[in-house]
């Protein structure tokens, strides 16, 4: 995963430095600062094993945040991520229970369920014009209901398939597979956002949907596909998580909604849409993973972690998330 591969042009080449560098640079600066603070506490923080471990833990959030970023770039938001994650994990695990064929199709089936869920969101937002915050909230509730009814209120007995375990917990030449999966996902996202009409359309819609529509962009279809992708990626994140943990569990996705949004926003993507690049999201994901890790290594009680976590996000947003003045 090299940096030059990840540099996605946002809107125009000429403004590259002025538009993108500050948030991304600040985010990476904060990462280095966090590592230094951590290394004062314990030298292990700078060891390659620890860093690789953090990347591996961050990969799950990274995959989920990729989907969230697509939606946020549109100026929308997807609050259905928690149960899209759980849905993906549970459906993939459930498919595993159906013999060898099930095992083969476990991962695609889990992701497909997430895509369908995202499609419902997308149709609601793009064609029915329901505010994304509402429709995704409701779809989240429906997905939760479906899963509770399906599992009978207990954690499902089906465990993850070998392929899922391999993808999430295995390694190739010492590099965790999860990190490779994240790198591939990221590379595809960078290509999609920077080099395809679809990506351009996402930025265009995020800036002004009416203008994009009048320029001939099929805005409704783009929005729908973006939501479907977000659902699919969230479910894929869930599949990986299930592989990592060995089995799916209820409410395993709850811990990923706010960090995913925070990672995208800390990476400099505007919550109003239209601005942001993937490198920033990578920085945001690493930042949040490191922060969580350092807080837990320092054995700070849960309440302290929550307070520091919130405070750090506020401070960093104040550093570079401010909107410009002028009305």
């Amino acid at each position: 995963m090299t940096t030059d591969k990840l540099d996605a042009p946002a809107t125009s080449r000429t403004n590259w430095t002025s538009r993108i560098d500050l948030p991304v640079a600040t985010a990476f600066g904060c990462i280095i600062l966090l590592l230094l603070v951590g290394s004062l506490y314990s030298p292990n923080f700078l060891s390659p094993e620890y860093l690789l471990q953090q990347l591996k833990v961050g990969a799950f959030l990274g995959v989920i945040a990729t989907g969230m970023m697509l939606v946020i770039l549109l100026g929308q938001i997807d609050l259905s991520v928690p149960w899209a994650v759980t849905l993906g994990a549970m459906m993939a695990s459930a498919a595993t229970a159906y013999g060898p064929m099930g095992e083969v199709f476990a991962i695609p089936f889990g992701v497909l369920c997430g895509v369908l869920m995202g499609l419902v969101n997308g149709i609601g937002v793009a064609y029915l014009r329901i505010p994304s915050m509402i429709i995704t909230l409701a779809v989240n509730a429906v997905a939760q209901g479906l899963m509770v009814a399906y599992t009978g209120g207990f954690a499902p007995q089906d465990s993850a398939s070998p392929a899922m375990r391999y993808l999430a917990a295995g390694t190739i030449l010492g590099v965790p597979n999860a990190v490779i999966v994240w790198a591939i996902t990221g590379a595809v996202a960078v290509f999609l956002l920077g080099r395809t009409t679809f990506g351009r359309a996402i930025y265009g819609i995020g800036n002004k949907e009416a203008a994009a529509y009048l320029s001939g962009v099929p805005t409704q279809r783009v929005v729908m596909i973006a939501f479907a992708l977000c659902g699919g990626l969230a479910a894929f994140g869930g599949v990986l998580l299930a592989g990592y943990a060995g089995k799916a569990a209820q409410s395993m996705g709850d811990a990923y909604l706010l960090p995913a949004i925070a990672a995208v926003v800390l990476g400099g993507t505007s919550i109003l849409g239209g601005r942001g690049n993937y490198l920033g999201t990578v920085a945001g994901v690493i930042l949040i993973t490191l922060l969580q890790s350092i807080l837990s290594v320092m054995q700070i009680a849960e309440f302290g972690r929550q307070i520091i976590y919130g405070a750090v996000i506020i401070v960093m947003l104040l550093l570079y998330g401010r909107e410009r003045t002028g009305r």
Partner: protein, 328 residues
């Protein structure tokens, strides 16, 4: 005539929520083994008031075209704080109530300041402040519980029945509407909140006190969320720092607000609508108990009803006259 039509269109969401609530509640009471008795109404009112308070809190911020994702956490913080402060003699309890409400005000003020002077998007910043508020709640109340000499007199009075018939919590809610909402709606600041929600640049150009309006909205939101937390303590006599509860209240408040006809785009709707939205939302949940549904299917049923209700209430597709209107 035009004025009437206009105000009907303005209130459509509220009437929709009211209709849903009446139908659901009628179903509920008709199928309840005990029937339409003061006790049944009292239980329903007590459950509804909690969400109604949080939904009212959410309304103020949503009217400015913002959103407050920390209401649930302020609610939890107030709940935990109240479980310590409501002790001893009546004057001490009054002091405790004051302390809890002040904390809510302070939380709201922090949100407001960050949104106004930090120039940050409310949706992001309130997620972060929510984490801080929850952390503090967890700090003061790591395990669910209450103070040893918890004074339950006030709690019993505010959750019981007045004259043996009317639920006190409902009376309290009506009082709040009369004391907070109606004066707010008629004040300059109230108008400014609506103006800011409709179009901030236009409001600014017209000399509307934009900052004061936003600040007031967030502060009132904090205050009402804290009242919700206080009421929670009245019911349970204890405090619990539960992340799941906080998130549920935040998300339910958004659903209730939308169900009650408050536009998420700002400038449209009222707290009264939001209250009916909250009551309707709760009534949907209550229905399942009387029909003796398998509890496993309850979340699904609730989700589907929520999906249908908000889709009908919020779908703008059926209201546009010009395709370009879709994008505004």
């Amino acid at each position: 005539m035009n004025g009437l039509r206009y105000s009907l269109a303005e209130q459509r969401g509220m009437f929709l929520a009211l209709a849903i609530f009446i139908i659901m509640f009628a179903f509920y009471v008709a199928n309840h083994p005990a029937g339409f008795t003061p006790n049944v109404v009292q239980t329903a009112a007590n459950k509804g008031v909690l969400l109604a308070l949080v939904a009212m809190a959410q309304t103020f911020v949503v009217l400015t075209a913002g959103i407050d994702l920390s209401v649930g956490m302020i609610f939890i913080l107030a709940n935990c704080l109240a479980s310590y402060l409501l002790v001893g003699t009546p004057p001490m309890v009054a002091l405790g109530v004051g302390g809890v409400l002040l904390t809510g005000l302070a939380c709201g003020a922090l949100n407001g300041l960050l949104v106004i002077y930090g120039r940050l998007q409310p949706i992001v910043i309130t997620i972060a402040t929510g984490a801080v508020f929850f952390g503090i709640a967890l700090w003061i109340r790591p395990y669910p519980g209450s103070a040893d000499d918890f004074s339950s007199d006030l709690a019993d009075a505010l959750t019981g029945k007045v004259l043996g018939v009317f639920p006190a919590s409902l009376l309290f809610l009506i009082l709040l509407v009369l004391v907070i909402w109606i004066p707010f709606r008629r004040s300059v600041i109230g108008r400014a909140v609506y103006a800011v929600g409709s179009s901030e640049p236009a409001a600014y150009m017209s000399g509307v006190p934009v900052m004061r309006a936003k600040f007031t909205a967030y502060v009132l939101s904090g205050l009402l969320a804290a009242m919700g937390g206080l009421y929670m303590t009245f019911f349970t006599y204890s405090g619990e720092a539960s992340l799941a509860n906080g998130n549920t209240y935040t998300l339910s408040s958004i659903a209730a607000v939308v169900l009650g006809g408050v536009s998420l785009f700002g400038g449209r709707g009222s707290a009264i609508g939001a209250i009916f939205g909250a009551l309707a939302f709760r009534a949907i949940g209550d229905l399942l108990f009387v029909f003796d549904f398998d509890p496993l299917w309850q979340p699904l049923f609730q989700g589907v009803v929520l999906l249908l209700a908000v889709s009908l209430g919020a779908a703008r597709l059926f209201q546009v006259r010009n395709r370009l209107d879709l994008f505004t």
